[in-house]
């Protein structure tokens, strides 16, 4: 008798990166519970990409800035929920180099300071 494969539902795109979602759930949990307790909305896991250690990966939570800034960042591939890796940080407030989707990008320090991330464990 041939074994019949059960018809598995297709895994939605966003669930593929399981680990990423685990982090997200933690974040949502921390954020909402903090808000319920009246604690100001500061998440210890959150930090701008400029404060990451060189070589670490993080998830982009949000882009803090005007419409134009957000538009420009998304246009070159820097978007919410993407995994970002800090490749290099140049001295004297120089630019930072990040990697997203295997592609490196150089962005100014001030712009990078407005990319808020959460480190992946």
């Amino acid at each position: 008798m041939t074994e019949v494969q059960p018809d598995l539902p297709e895994i939605p795109y966003m669930d593929r990166d399981h680990h990423f979602w685990k982090v997200q759930y933690h974040l949502i949990f921390i954020l909402t519970s903090a808000q319920l307790l009246g604690i100001p909305k500061v998440n210890p896991m959150e930090q701008p990409v400029t404060l990451l250690e060189t070589g670490t990966k993080a998830v982009i939570l949000r882009l803090e800035g005007g419409h134009w800034f957000q538009h420009k960042m998304r246009g070159i591939g820097i978007r919410e929920q993407k995994t970002i890796r800090l490749v290099a940080k140049h001295p004297f407030n120089g630019p930072v180099v990040v990697e997203i989707d295997g592609r490196e990008m150089t962005i100014g320090r001030r712009m990078a300071e407005h990319i808020i991330t959460a480190v992946m464990e």
């Binding site: 939605p12 795109y13 966003m14 593929r16 060189t54 957000q70 538009h71 420009k72 998304r74 246009g75 070159i76 591939g77 978007r79 490749v87 290099a88 940080k89 140049h90 001295p91 004297f92 407030n93 120089g94 630019p95 180099v97 989707d101 295997g102 592609r103 490196e104 990008m105 150089t106 962005i107 100014g108 320090r109 001030r110 712009m111």
Partner: protein, 571 residues
């Protein structure tokens, strides 16, 4: 005729696709911002002719610099759009694709660099992608030509799908997430030695020494190739040519025609640099002194451009260039300006604000000597000793830095930060490098030869009518009194507007001391751009800013010339 416009993100290979489709030659390389203007070409499809337009790259239909404005303008004229996307980076490229589709023009999607995507473990389901976007999708490898017959066959299938409605930013990204999830699969790839090199060359600690070594090696290579070409090819050719001109010289006998064609004989012999005849200096300067260095410079530059090193250099120099009111990308126009100021000034279009573009163009015109002039400085000053050549370049470097800092303070406006994609390192394709170098050499010959001839002609006419002495007398207080140069140098500065290389050559017969020559050649770069650069600056900056830039140049020449005289000549 129907207009087909090539649109796409920067550095996806639109210009290579353009060359493939039209057979026309355009400059292509491996960094975003190579194309800053449109080029037009034709292709035949069946019996019909089609006009194809290559536009600069853009991330979206909202332009953020002048080059992107050009792209948008071209899009407005399109009857059909070939959207070129980078298959290795589909997700980001789809944003522009969706925007294009919302504009209701027929679109066909080209997934370029298909081979690279395969190598990096990216698989894209073409059928599914076609179903999602409702337009034909053609994979290509523009460098090798793979996929192009398919593209040409399917051009007419291009359509503007009714299914795609106008969306806002977040809706577009949602849609893209959906599409990518359905059509693309990425298998993890191990880091290669190229990745390692890529990171080493962009990190400050390792990157700076690498950059210095690379620049030093490039300069050495340029001078090595240039000298070799002169010694083994061009000088021997002119040695063969000498008896012919000498023959013409005796046949002509003395007279105006002799002066014009052969020029002055020095000790009864032809001196190719000093004689100033059309058939002597007019040929020797562009072919035997300048051309070898042009060949050397552009072949080295082509390799540089195609490896993808320039954006890394831009990253490393970003902090420094912010002091000059630009950001790191500003080093790319400067590099191109070292070949010829005209493409340098044009490349400044990729900078975002007017302030940045003004500073870039002015700095190039004032302190970046072009290869034609450099070749002459090497040829003439180098014979007195390398220290004098170094003196010229060191002064110009100081002028660059000082002018940059001053202009940054002086010019109002924004200096936004850098935002630059770093392309992966690629092995330069020998054919592309050769073709590009050849195109630039041809361009040099077409631009240079007429102006050198015109320059030689004007010099002879001016001498004949006594204008030179008259002009010298008028400018004597400045040239002689302030700069400490012989008053005849005025003519060289005048000719410098036509051709700076020829002008350097004109300084030789004036019997100046090497230090005077240093002052004169340095001033020749600073005081005013050549006619070609002047024209392109006028076009790019507008009349008011051009006037400002010119005033700044003349002022700087005055100050620097006086200072150099004080330091170098002592009085």
């Amino acid at each position: 005729m129907k207009k087909i416009v090539l649109m796409g993100n920067p550095n996806v290979g639109k210009s290579v696709v353009f060359s493939r489709l039209t057979g026309a030659n355009v400059i292509t390389s491996n960094y975003p911002g190579t194309t800053v203007d449109f080029s037009k070409g034709k292709m035949c499809l069946g019996k019909e002719g089609r006009e194809i337009i290559d536009a600069p790259g853009t991330y979206s239909l909202e332009p953020s610099n002048k080059a992107e404005e050009v792209a948008l303008e071209m899009f407005g004229q399109a009857d059909l759009v070939i959207d070129v996307a980078d298959a290795t980076n589909l997700e980001r490229n789809l944003y522009l694709t969706l925007q294009l589709l919302e504009q209701k023009k027929p679109v066909i999607l080209v997934l370029n660099m298909w081979d690279e995507a395969r190598h990096t473990g990216i698989t894209i389901n073409l059928k599914k992608l076609e179903n999602e976007l409702h337009i034909p999708v053609v994979p290509t490898v523009a460098l090798s030509g793979e996929g192009f017959s398919d593209l040409v066959h399917r051009l007419d299938e291009a359509r503007s799908p009714k299914e795609i409605e106008p969306m806002n930013d977040s809706e577009r990204w949602m849609k893209i997430g959906e599409i990518i999830g359905n059509v693309q699969q990425v298998t993890h790839r191990h880091h290669t030695v190229w990745d390692w090199l890529s990171e080493a060359s962009i990190r400050p600690l390792t990157g700076v020494p690498i950059a210095l070594a690379v620049i030093f090696a490039a300069l050495w290579l340029v001078s090595f190739i240039g000298e070799t070409l002169i010694t083994y090819i061009f000088d021997p050719l002119f040695t063969l040519y000498t008896p012919i001109v000498m023959g013409i010289s005796t046949w002509l006998g003395p007279g105006f025609l002799h002066t014009l064609l052969i020029g002055q004989l020095i000790d009864g012999q032809i001196d190719y640099v000093q004689s100033m005849g059309l058939l002597t200096t007019g040929l020797y300067v562009p072919f035997a002194m300048v051309l070898p260095y042009i060949i050397a410079f552009y072949s080295v530059l082509a390799v540089f451009e195609d490896t993808g090193y320039l954006p890394r250099l831009a990253t490393l120099s970003d902090t420094l260039f912010h002091r000059f009111g630009m950001h790191g990308f500003g080093i790319i126009p400067v590099f191109l300006g070292l070949g010829c100021n005209v493409p340098g000034v044009l490349a400044a279009r990729s900078l975002e604000t007017k302030k940045q573009r003004f500073i870039a163009a002015t700095l190039i015109a004032i302190s970046v000597p072009c290869m034609a002039k450099n070749a002459m400085v090497f040829g003439i000053l180098g014979s007195f000793g390398m220290v004098y050549v170094v003196l010229v370049f060191a002064t110009l470097f100081l002028v660059f830095v000082a002018s940059g800092i001053i202009l940054n303070r002086l010019i109002k406006g924004d200096s936004p930060e850098i935002c630059l994609e770093i392309p992966p390192y690629r092995k330069p394709d020998p054919m592309t490098v050769l073709k590009k170098t050849w195109m630039r050499i041809l361009w040099f010959l077409k631009e240079a030869i007429p102006f050198v001839f015109l320059g030689v002609l004007i010099i002879n006419v001016l001498y004949a009518i006594g204008f030179v002495d008259w002009l010298g007398d008028i400018f004597a207080p400045v040239i002689q009194g302030w700069f400490g140069l012989p008053q005849e140098a005025t003519t060289a500065l005048l000719i410098g507007f036509l051709r700076k290389d020829l002008a350097v050559g004109m300084l030789l017969p004036l019997a100046m001391s090497p230090l005077q020559l240093v002052i004169a050649t340095t001033l020749l770069t600073i005081y005013f751009p050549c006619v070609g650069t002047f024209a392109v600056m006028f076009r790019e900056l507008g009349i008011r800013d051009m006037f400002k830039a010119t005033a700044f140049m003349v002022g700087t020449a005055f100050v620097v010339g006086g200072a150099m005289r004080l330091v170098l000549l002592g009085i």
